[in-house]
């Protein structure tokens, strides 16, 4: 136990980063899940992974460049999604597989494909450097602030789009702000912690919370607590080695967190369905 605690202390910056980013993504997930945009979020995270691949291919692996590239990719993605109301999900599916294949092609050309792809998809908090630079922190802080300021507008627009338009509350500006916040948060999260970690935090806490939520505030609080608890628990599990075939095996941290979250999420679903 002492040993785990010592290791835990050693990885404190990574744990802090993973917990804070996870909780932020979970908050954003509230709107994404309620707007039924889960697949959009998943596709967006894949687009960000592709931005990582492009940056690696071009030898410009900077967080800012990846963020910029993700924003650029996002514009046609939103246009395709918004202008194809009836087949929005199909378009997203096509974008998803196209970008996945494109990333692999690029990484194949760049060499060391397996490691890069694994890092882009699963990430690993323990090995990730806490490399949030000042520019990135500023952009992230601005986007969080924007979310807080715009939250009620975004909620109103999502809940009753027609009334929002009727009241001339500038739906375009609100929508653009929402997509901007989503892109920034997911870009930074995917870049630092991997796309599966980000998707899990985006969807699972809110999905689970919806079974109990009796107000939006509760849903936000639940999503944050669930996300933080899962991250810390997953961390602790991954720090404890398991004996397997006479070897000590350490579980990958991000995967341990995601699996733990999924188990709780499905557990709650099962419990609710059986009642």
């Amino acid at each position: 136990m002492n040993e785990i605690w010592k290791t835990f202390e050693f990885f404190l910056p990574q744990i802090f980063l993973g917990t804070v980013l996870g909780a932020l993504i979970a908050c954003l997930g509230v709107i994404i899940v309620l707007r039924k945009m889960a697949f959009f979020g998943v596709t967006l995270s894949q687009v960000v992974s592709s931005s990582v691949a492009v940056s690696l291919f071009l030898g410009l692996h900077s967080d800012f460049f990846i963020l910029l590239l993700s924003c650029l990719f996002l514009i046609p993605l939103i246009m395709l999604y918004k202008t194809n109301d009836s087949s929005g999900d199909t378009i997203l599916g096509i974008v998803f597989v196209s970008f996945t294949a494109f990333s692999q092609l690029l990484l194949n050309l760049g060499g060391n494909v397996k490691n890069h792809l694994m890092a882009a998809y699963f990430g690993d908090i323990l090995t990730s450097q806490v490399r949030l630079n000042f520019t990135l922190i500023s952009i992230l802080a601005c986007s969080i602030l924007l979310f807080v300021i715009m939250y009620r507008r975004i909620l109103f627009l999502s809940f009753d789009e027609n009334e929002f338009i009727v009241r001339k509350l500038s739906p375009q500006l609100t929508e653009i702000s929402f997509y901007f916040i989503m892109t920034v948060a997911i870009s930074i999260s995917v870049n630092l912690l991997g796309s599966f970690y980000s998707i899990a935090h985006l969807l699972i806490p809110v999905y689970t919370g919806l079974f109990f939520a009796r107000s939006m505030r509760f849903l936000f609080l639940f999503a944050i607590v669930f996300s933080v608890f899962s991250t810390v628990f997953g961390f602790l599990v991954s720090l404890k080695g398991f004996s397997y075939n006479n070897e000590i095996i350490y579980l990958p941290t991000s995967s341990a967190i995601v699996v733990f979250m999924s188990l709780i999420g499905f557990g709650v679903l099962l419990y609710k369905k059986m009642r």
Partner: protein, 213 residues
């Protein structure tokens, strides 16, 4: 009496080659309590959605008075029920967009909510409300807002006769005392209720005509 909105040779629809309604000439004044009658699919909803700015017009024109603020009461069946929003949260959502919004209603607002029978269900989730309750919540949301032109799309369908009378009374009072304009669109109206309105319109073919008293 100043006008709330005015249409001039307006035609509406989703394709300008095949307008649903054509050459619409209506002037609705402030303080009017009006209704538009028409069968299903006749273009009533499309008309108010056009005036509200949700869908573009095909041709012609409409003018809104400069101080007009619109609100629309939709059909409750088209609402997003997955949101864990309480009735109170829905009603306060339309308040001014500040980071720390007000958490309670004013006295005047509370009286209105009590009259409409919404006070006891303020903490209920919208998905837990019955059709009639939700319809009343949506009407109250428009009345609590600063809107002075309210479109109501089939607003009384889900209400029982007592609630219908109360809501009609409140709408009439609001239009009279606060110089608001209420425009109800419906496919069915009882004869005795028709007399409540000071202006009545009807969709006839591809035109809207005002009914004489």
């Amino acid at each position: 009496m100043s006008f709330a909105f005015q249409t001039k040779n307006l035609c509406i629809g989703f394709d300008s080659r095949y307008p649903i309604l054509n050459e619409i000439e209506i002037t609705l004044n402030k303080g009017d309590f009006a209704c538009l009658l028409g069968s299903n699919g006749s273009g009533k909803s499309t008309f108010v959605r056009t005036i509200s700015g949700i869908i573009p017009k095909c041709c012609g024109d409409f003018i809104l008075a400069p101080d007009i603020k619109i609100s629309m009461v939709p059909q409750f069946k088209k609402m997003q029920f997955q949101y864990p929003l309480t009735v109170k949260e829905v009603l306060l959502l339309t308040e001014k967009f500040t980071i720390f919004p007000k958490k309670n209603f004013t006295n005047e607002q509370s009286i209105l909510l009590e009259k409409m029978g919404i006070e006891p269900i303020l903490n209920l989730l919208v998905r837990e409300c019955s059709g009639g309750q939700l319809q009343k919540v949506l009407i109250a949301r428009s009345l609590l807002s600063d809107a002075n032109l309210i479109f109501l799309d089939e607003p009384l369908d889900a209400l029982d006769s007592d609630s219908k009378n109360i809501v009609t009374e409140i709408l009439k009072k609001e239009t009279k005392e606060k110089n608001k304009t209420a425009f109800i669109i419906t496919h069915h109206i009882e004869k005795n209720w028709l007399s409540e309105f000071n202006r009545k319109f009807s969709v006839e073919g591809i035109h809207i005509k005002e009914l004489k008293k």
